[in-house]
Symmetry: C2
Subunit: 710 residues, 2 copies
Amino acid sequence: MTISKITTALALSLATASIASAQATTPPIVGFTSAGSQQQHALEAKAATLASPSSADALSRELSREPHMAGTPAQARTRDIFASELKKYGITPEIRTYSIYMPHPTSVHLYRVAPNATELSLSEGPIAGDTTSSSYPQILTFNGYGAAGDATGDVVYVNYGLIEDYKTLDSLGISVKGKIAIARYGRSYRGIKAREAEKHGAVALVIYSDPADDGFARGDIYPEGPMRPWTGVQRGSVYNDNGDPTTPDYPSLPGAKRVPLDQTNLPRIPVIPASYKNAAELLRDVRGGGELPRGWQGGLPFRYHVGPGPVRARVVVTTDAATHPYKDIWDVLGTIRGSEFPDQLVIIGGHRDAWGPGTADNISGTVSVLQAARTIGDLMKQGYRPKRTIIFASWDAEEWGLMGSTEFVEQDSARLSKNGAAYINFDEVATGPALGASGSPSLRPFFRDVTKVVASPEGNGSVYDAWRRTDRITADTAQPEIGDPGGGSDFAGFYNHLGIPIADWGFGGPMGVYHSAFDSYHWMSKFGDPGFKYHAAMGVLGAVALMRMADADIIPYDYVEYARAMRGLTATAAKNIAANKWGNVSTSALDSSINVMEKSAADFNAVRDAALARGVSPATRKQANETLMQVERAFVRPEGLPVTKREWFHNVIYAADNDNGYSNIGLPSINEAVKAGDQALSVREIADLSQRFLRAAGLLDSAARSLRTP
Amino acid sequence: MTISKITTALALSLATASIASAQATTPPIVGFTSAGSQQQHALEAKAATLASPSSADALSRELSREPHMAGTPAQARTRDIFASELKKYGITPEIRTYSIYMPHPTSVHLYRVAPNATELSLSEGPIAGDTTSSSYPQILTFNGYGAAGDATGDVVYVNYGLIEDYKTLDSLGISVKGKIAIARYGRSYRGIKAREAEKHGAVALVIYSDPADDGFARGDIYPEGPMRPWTGVQRGSVYNDNGDPTTPDYPSLPGAKRVPLDQTNLPRIPVIPASYKNAAELLRDVRGGGELPRGWQGGLPFRYHVGPGPVRARVVVTTDAATHPYKDIWDVLGTIRGSEFPDQLVIIGGHRDAWGPGTADNISGTVSVLQAARTIGDLMKQGYRPKRTIIFASWDAEEWGLMGSTEFVEQDSARLSKNGAAYINFDEVATGPALGASGSPSLRPFFRDVTKVVASPEGNGSVYDAWRRTDRITADTAQPEIGDPGGGSDFAGFYNHLGIPIADWGFGGPMGVYHSAFDSYHWMSKFGDPGFKYHAAMGVLGAVALMRMADADIIPYDYVEYARAMRGLTATAAKNIAANKWGNVSTSALDSSINVMEKSAADFNAVRDAALARGVSPATRKQANETLMQVERAFVRPEGLPVTKREWFHNVIYAADNDNGYSNIGLPSINEAVKAGDQALSVREIADLSQRFLRAAGLLDSAARSLRTP
């Protein structure tokens, strides 16, 4: 696409994504001098004029033209498109190649052995009007890292396959040992379902999408609506760790030492996904198990039963593990070197790999990162130069276990730890009008400010205004919720491993084609983001956020909000501790050190604002920023989370819940010890974390001190 | 069945239904002298030994051998069985014959006109193992009092067809005018659905049973489980008033004046019920109406849409209205004349008619009434004689609009008003282990006491103990809930029209064969009450309750509990008033008159207990009882409920909700005025009711005065 084309598209799109005009004359931006604020506002106004739904549309169509799973030639094609786009924007791309242990399936079969033996069709099938569903071979319906094998057994329905579901089965005297477990998707990461099925002795696991969860019970089904059709299948990895299983903690470069497979956490049983059409064939005739436990009925048109049997199933999976287990993956990085703080890094990224065309997951994020890159590239052609270094990243093999981002983080951990200012993650960012956000509390006020200056694609005010309407916020003083960092996307390496503040944003809506062949350009242009206005808006949000973060004289963290969030986490931990009735385990040390941190943060904010009003020398700014970037690093430690043996999870503020995979656990070092009933460890972890809050407070004090000296 | 057979059955059943032994030596029974209590306890212990699951089983099978709709020869057969059973017990039966306007359908047809024109099969069909479903012709699937007609139109899905559902349709700009509405059963009496569909201009209404409400989503379907199968249909009346529509307020005796049909509230459009199998054929291809309103999706395996169309349907109903509109119905009454207060009446009853075999609805109640009669009959053979008169009633045509009980109440209103002590209703009383009860607050402590002395069929204590377990009551001071009188069964005439204290009890469980051909002996013996232990227990509960009520020296009402319940109703009314923001409408007059009533009630209870401990002369007892029976009559008035034009509803404490039919509205004279926004009337009604509470208090004072004089 040429510049002149983009400009034309821009002119047409000004109405849909522009800097909200009422906000253009607001007071100083946090972290900027008064003069710097004026410049930045002008820059942001210009950035908004560069929004281009039509270029997003064209890029989305091009990048999602065919299925492009990690480790396939189609991913080389998307790599090259991403790199060539960066070049067009004047940004030199860099390719990082990693070699990942990643067997691909060569065949997947599912049989009902009894009654009425039949092989079930696993193809999602072509859908009229959705050209990608018929023009290219669909990727086999499989779960990444499920074992190869051939297993036959009576069917047991295990509801969502959660830990509590197996407890319920235990109470009913029903075991999956030697059986084929069938679980529905939802309520946990699928890797947890695989782990629990294997732990309980199942010989194979079938995970299906129940219509009650994302099918017809939720809305019209594709192609009539956005929800999952009868043949739709959710693929996805069932690996529970992050990064190449054979290279923990270090990058999977050529020649890297590999851990033997039997020392990894890879599943030992075949695990495959299925449509609800398939599930009906397996579940309809299951009997036994007595009265169905409350909440276990799904949306298929018969009464569900737990079993086991009399339905018997057979699962057969073959892979190329013996012949070709390692695959190359490619991250693409585009770097704009900062003018004043070139070592300090502001990073935005999203994964590029998919389980099919992946128009939502995650060509939407990929395109939005490129929109931000194009916008900043265009501004650079008009003379703009960011003060900090900006990196635009396209990660590969996220779908298999955050491979691309994790290997990058492991490879560049030294510079990232020292100089990583923030990582912004774009994953599935434009599938509807509802803004959702999560991330480190230190970046929440920053994000809210950014949304206040970007126009909502629906018109009627800013993205922030629309966000409040969606979340039904009416009180003047209330704000939309921003979630805590959970699991399941590329921010994990930055946040959980290195302690870099992260944010994860996107617009969402009803979607039942997740990880299916129907996550296609046709679905996106008809249901997810007709007109690609939300893709364009994400590009503007990304560009504004990157430039504010890169250009701020003082990085705009907010450790007052952070400390307040910590108080909420401590209250929860105290409740968990109280449930153990230990009597003499107190969290008061946490409370007081958080109070100290909040006081230091408030002092710092005041000192910062005064300094910016007064003017600060480059050397002072540099020193203050370097100190500030270390505040959140106070919460990482090399030993990670010992109770759940998650050494890689260095950050002790938030982690993915080890029993859920997607959801979040706050203060994991403490809460995992409490949950394990280990009183002595709990006491030690409270002391450890209290010290870390004090250390963070000390860093804030030190940054404030440096700013007090002009 | 001969007495010797019954005795044998009794010996076998002692373990399953006996007076809970731990309770046999309890303190005096409320309303009895100390000596009387001892006698009564002995009598109750004897009654318990007469419980007979096997005779209940045999009677249930016999009475539900064939479908026996009101107005058919099969109802003459059940009439004769009931009468002959009474005779066997030594009780002389009386038959009351009424002639009711009650057209029967002669044909019912439902067509899908487009797309793919087809006639839908309305037969519920035979089910293997359920002999009644195949041995006798099934009653046509129709809604009683739906109009004859032939209507064709586009289909509109109206959810439950509630008033609020039509408000939602209005907000979507969708009208049912000239269309065929299809509503699901549930959340209201079906007559309300018919009224609203007609009011909004529908040319016909189809009411179907959604599987989410009582089908496979709730449990295994018949014959595998108790829930509704694909072809199961809920018949039932769509008439909204009580009693023969052509004889309001007076009995439908031969020669009675008849109101012209166009002055009745009978439906003007055809209304028919359907299975969910039928509904799927009508709803699957409905489109339009935009996004389905929240909560409107049912359990069929496709996305529901509101329409209208493109599906078109045709409903054709013919009836015998032109040739044979009036049918004879038969109440059967068995009276045991009281020895001391022969005018004072204690009545138990249940309807006998059904929409099919009706083993649950209501042969279970019929059999249980007979079990109570047999028990008391047997005790009389051993010399027992109740002090008050006991009437065992079998009502006909309840299913069409409480015909039999209403005509009886209208015919005998004078003696009932003066001397009706209590009416106990048995309708669908043995379909599972969960006790449910509703009724006048004045009878609640009495009922709890009765359940405490009857053994639970499940073993492990009394019915009361089991009730507490079912309701998960653990606090020592808490008690299971007893509901307020709603609508939909034969207590209405006694309670709403005459102000006689009523109670409505039964054991329930999962049931999806309501008003279907599958409400059969086979269903009952497999799912509802295998072994008929709950039928037998209901017989014991009935006998004990009747004898306590009949033999008490002072009728055991509790107007302290009553007054306290009134306080709750007043609080609700005050909330409703506050919502109108009238400012100066106060319920304080109610509060203070309820306080007066509670004080009088507490005084009366103390005086009563003292008098009973001391001994009371027959004349004093008689006078006190006659006064006591008038307390609740203070709340009836001839003008009834003017706002909803329900003149027949004389009682102003509780009424069926005019917008729902089943559920209850407290203080209807006030709350209907408030809902109508009529401030002046609300003020008048508050004053009226306050006076009635004071009058009730005065009657209690007067009863106490008579007891103070020995």
